[in-house]
């Protein structure tokens, strides 16, 4: 595995200053290493992973490193090219007040300026002005979880989300990662955005879990020999349950109030299909016809958060097409990470003449399911569920979409339900898309911190709206020798509407 997995400090990666680092790079288009890695997590057929889908290849062609002479005569390549660099205007909104520092997970962990939003924005500005993109800079950008807690904290309204996304796009196009790092990332992106592949990969996992292979390997000490990133992945894998398919059309119960489209998500669909089933039942019970296009693919959230622009654009266009003629009033998503990206389609596809307007219209229809239900108002009768639940704010719901009250409200509308707040609620749990797989060490520290705060609530279960958070908190609790039932707000609401008992709900995961 790559260097950062073997060193103790996750930030000590890369070579010292090297001015050639920001020059144009050729992206290796072979899938070197992918096969072995896919095997390691149980992807049965390497043939399932095509080798010709390297989205970054076309992007590289657009990259022109414009050299610039400095007074001393040496040539410095600018860190960013002209295709969507972090915007100067947005950088200038930062007045360097530092209000973002205490809410930034990496600043909380490392206490270093460069691992804070203020520091990263400063580095972006330097990148625009004078400094080349080198290993150190990339490391600090990579370490950002993209939790957007800083966006909430910032009094100046700095749009850090746009800045870091633009920066990541530049890094992915212009910076040469180590072969191992590249292969690992590629493996993730050839797997997670494709539910069918993810399902194939998950099949042997089921056997692996049934026979307790992981535990046996752990006891035999074999696990310790796996690279840290692989260990992190293994630890995150949930117990798989039976896949529940969502019909293409689900009629409203009683009087029809809305027609909504439903997005199934990728991780949600494969690992938490019961959340989708519950969501659709709740929507129907609240008077919605639910349209769920069968062919729908990934929304591209993981790709865009990792700077894989071309790949993202492909996913986004496809998803927009799939809902084009559906005639729905709203498009509902129950995964926070997907929702925040779906709402940004209008911005992210702004350059695409054919899709810009479609994307804006699409984004305008997108609602997180809790947000939508609160707009709609409840009609279905809620049966009591006397239980104390800790509600965990998913960053992409609370910070990216500003949705905090609605899911709490949804839970509080259930008679007998007690919603407990988790200390340091604004701090990321460390899941952050693919972060806990590529940066396992900081992610583990954050996970432990979150799990401790969750346990301290004394609640009997955890409720959260993002599959990544569920996996992460579950894995962290397990590592600490605890377990706690977890549920999506829709599973809780579904249980209440269907009159299930608390005990049945607590058997959940």
């Amino acid at each position: 595995m790559d260097k950062d997995n073997s060193s103790l400090d996750p930030r000590q990666d890369g070579n010292p200053y090297d001015a050639t680092d920001a020059t144009e790079r050729k992206v290796d288009s072979s899938s070197e290493g992918t096969e072995g890695m896919a095997g390691a997590i149980g992807a049965g057929s390497p043939d399932d992973i095509p080798t010709d889908t390297f989205a970054s290849r076309s992007a590289v062609k657009q990259t022109v490193g414009i050299g610039r002479k400095t007074e001393s005569g040496s040539v410095i390549f600018p860190a960013f090219d002209s295709h969507h660099p972090p915007e100067k205007d947005l950088i200038d909104d930062c007045v360097h007040c530092g209000f973002c520092l205490p809410t930034c997970p990496t600043y909380v962990l490392f206490g270093e300026e460069m691992d804070s939003p203020r520091g990263r924005i400063y580095l972006m500005n330097k990148g625009l002005e004078e400094e080349p993109l080198n290993d150190q800079m990339v490391r600090h950008f990579d370490l950002c979880l993209g939790c957007m807690a800083c966006v909430t904290a910032c009094p100046s309204g700095v749009q850090y989300d746009k800045l870091i996304e633009a920066t990541r796009g530049q890094v992915e196009r212009r910076y040469e990662r180590s072969t191992q790092d590249k292969a690992f990332r590629e493996m993730i992106f050839q797997l997670f955005p494709y539910p069918n592949r993810l399902r194939v990969a998950a099949a042997p996992l089921k056997l692996y879990q049934r026979f307790g292979v992981g535990d046996k390997l752990r006891k035999a000490g074999v696990m310790k020999m796996l690279p840290k990133r692989m260990l992190a992945m293994e630890a995150l894998m949930p117990m798989l349950t039976k896949q529940q398919e969502i019909p293409e059309f689900t009629p409203a119960e009683g009087e029809r109030r809305r027609t909504v489209g439903f997005i199934k998500g990728c991780v949600q669909r494969v690992f938490f299909s019961e959340v989708n089933a519950a969501t659709v039942r709740v929507l129907a019970a609240e008077g919605c016809d639910v349209v769920t296009p069968k062919a729908q693919g990934c929304c591209g959230a993981l790709s865009v958060h990792a700077g894989r622009e071309e790949e993202f654009l492909g996913f986004a266009r496809k998803l927009i097409d799939e809902f084009e003629d559906s005639g729905v009033d709203q498009i509902i998503i129950n995964a926070a990470g997907c929702g925040s990206t779906l709402k940004e389609y209008g911005y992210l596809l702004r350059d695409d003449k054919a899709y810009a307007e479609k994307a804006r219209n699409f984004s305008a229809k997108v609602r997180d399911v809790s947000e939508f239900l609160q707009e709609l108002g409840p009609v279905a009768e809620r049966q009591p569920l006397p239980v104390a639940a800790a509600y965990h704010d998913a960053c992409h719901l609370a910070h990216s979409q500003g949705i905090r009250k609605q899911p709490r409200q949804t839970l509080k509308q259930i008679p007998g339900m007690e919603v407990r707040e988790i200390k340091e609620a604004e701090l990321c749990c460390g899941s952050a898309g693919i972060y806990n797989m590529v940066e396992p060490e900081p992610a583990t520290e954050l996970g432990d911190r979150k799990a401790t705060n969750v346990l301290n609530t004394g609640a009997r279960m955890v409720v959260t709206s993002n599959p990544g958070c569920m996996l992460q908190i579950q894995a962290s609790l397990r590592r600490m020798g605890h377990s706690m039932p977890m549920a999506h707000p829709m599973e809780v609401l579904d249980a209440s509407i269907r009159g299930k008992s608390v005990e049945t709900l607590l058997l959940n995961r």
């Binding site: 400090d9 007045v95 460069m114 580095l123």
Partner: protein, 484 residues
């Protein structure tokens, strides 16, 4: 690039994780909350204990390397501006709350602990830490100590210096000492703690600080009053203070400032020429009667609207609007230059008028937000650094504003400190003799001039030495002090 020897020695002390020496990483530390001055330090070190700090400082002393301490880097006078070829000692990893002693009303913390953490740690017991600078969610106690930070509530409760009971300090030669009495209200011997608090990092580095916490008041009432202009609001302030009421806080914001915070945090402030936030706290009965009186005074001063915070949530929203004021300037301007002058309360009206005139003269926007109760002004000169010459123009205007305040019997700074930013104005406020006396104190602590040099005093002088022919300082003449 730092010398190999320096890097090696620091790595010996701190391990590689505690040392930053790559250029582009160092650049993130080239300024604090004030971006007008930037210096790339030679090396940044992140100690995790008092012993680390002591070892670093001792090495610097032995080698004659200057050093600067930095907390969260939110200071507004460039007090934590690094020194070229110097060491920047960043205390953000020393953030343990060492002891909470509720019965004795004290909390012992490391310098990197963030101000609000102290209040959070004792909130369940009904206590809080009174000094509340607007940056309290991010600024560190060590930095608060160095700057003697105030805050909106210091009118009634005093500055940091009134809430620090003792400190463990690493002196510029690496000696570790304890100053302050700890438990005693008035420690025997010289009041060295008083000299240290507010010394802007020039007398040493605090590594452990004992703070006083106070009981949360029985009742708190907050109102927001809107006025036609700052003059009318100023009348209300004079009226309230003049009537004998000591508000916990009394803050004023002008129209431009209201516009910025409205865009930023939507506190729902009325559109007006000025708003006042007045907060009273204390025993229920006292607060209640004085609050009615305050409302009456505001009405008499022609308040166009008076809003009373119905609950803690609404009160928090008022304060959020106020405390976000500086940072919110990013919404209406790319850059701003903040001043921190103090004027006698009675001169407020005249000074504000003059500030407006100056703004018009320079064709620059000046937003005003200030602690009206003690006349501590924060005029914010708005500009755009990308327009050539504008930064200089802004600084010039800010300078004129300070001079105006001095002419009206005011002072250079209320709470942000002199730092690098305002040192050139020191001679306008103090005589050479005054400053030499201060230098004598500084030299007693830092004879080699390595501890945060180039701050507070306009010309780097060694220990009472003056330009031109030597004059003995009056204090020396009297045999009370000697040259080092």
């Amino acid at each position: 690039m730092a010398s190999r020897q320096l890097i090696d020695r620091m790595t010996d002390i701190l391990g590689p994780e505690g040392v930053i020496s790559e250029r582009e990483q160092l650049r993130a530390y080239e300024c604090d909350g004030l971006m007008n001055y930037r210096v790339i330090p030679e090396i940044v070190v992140l100690p995790e204990s008092a012993e680390h700090v002591q070892q670093i400082v001792r090495y610097c002393y032995d080698e004659g390397i200057p050093f600067v301490a930095r907390g969260s880097g939110t200071g507004l006078s460039g007090g934590a501006l690094p020194v070229e070829s110097g060491v920047l000692i960043v205390l953000s990893r020393m953030r343990k709350i060492i002891e909470v002693d509720i019965p004795n009303q004290r909390v012992v913390v490391e310098p990197g602990v963030i101000n609000i953490w102290v209040s959070q740690a004792v909130a369940d017991d009904g206590y809080y830490y009174a000094p509340d600078p607007a940056s309290q969610i991010v600024s560190s106690i060590g930095g608060n100590l160095a700057e003697n930070s105030g805050g909106v509530h210091c009118l009634k409760y005093g500055f940091t210096t009134n809430h620090v009971m003792g400190a463990e300090i690493v002196l510029p030669d690496g000696t570790m000492v304890n100053v302050g009495g700890g438990m005693a209200p008035d420690a025997p011997g010289y009041e060295l703690l008083g000299a240290f608090v507010g010394s802007e990092g020039t007398l040493g580095i605090a590594t452990k600080i004992t703070l006083r916490i106070v009981r949360k008041p029985q009742a708190v009432k907050t109102l927001l009053a809107a006025f036609k202009d700052t003059e009318e609001a100023g009348d209300a302030v004079s009226g309230i203070i003049g009537s004998g009421i000591v508000p916990a806080a009394i803050e004023m914001m002008d129209a431009l400032c209201i516009e910025a915070v409205e865009t930023a945090v939507h506190p729902g402030f009325p559109q007006a020429g000025a708003v006042l936030i007045v907060e009273l706290d204390g025993p229920e009965a006292e607060v209640s009667s004085q609050f009615d009186q305050t409302i009456k005074i505001c009405e008499e001063a022609n308040a166009s609207e008076i809003r009373i915070a119905e609950d803690d949530e609404e009160r928090a929203l008022f304060w959020k609007g106020r405390k976000a004021a500086f940072a919110a300037m990013g919404r209406i301007a790319n850059d701003y230059y903040v001043q921190d002058a103090v004027v006698p309360r009675t001169e407020l009206g005249a000074v504000l008028k003059r500030i407006n005139q100056l703004g018009e003269e320079y064709e620059m926007r000046v937003a005003n937000v200030f602690h009206a109760g003690d006349g501590n002004l924060h005029p914010l000169v708005l500009y755009d650094n990308d327009n050539p010459g504008e930064a200089e123009k802004a600084e010039d205007l800010a300078g004129r504003i300070v001079m105006t305040c001095l002419e009206h019997g005011g002072s250079l700074t209320g709470e942000h400190g002199i730092g690098r930013d305002k040192m050139k104005y020191m001679p306008k406020m103090f005589t050479d003799e005054d400053m030499d006396t201060m230098q004598l104190l500084r030299c007693a602590f830092d004879p080699h001039h390595i501890c945060n040099p180039g701050k507070i005093f306009p010309t780097p002088r060694l220990c009472g030495e003056r330009p031109g022919p030597f004059h003995m300082h009056p204090v020396q003449k009297a045999g009370l002090a000697e040259n080092f």
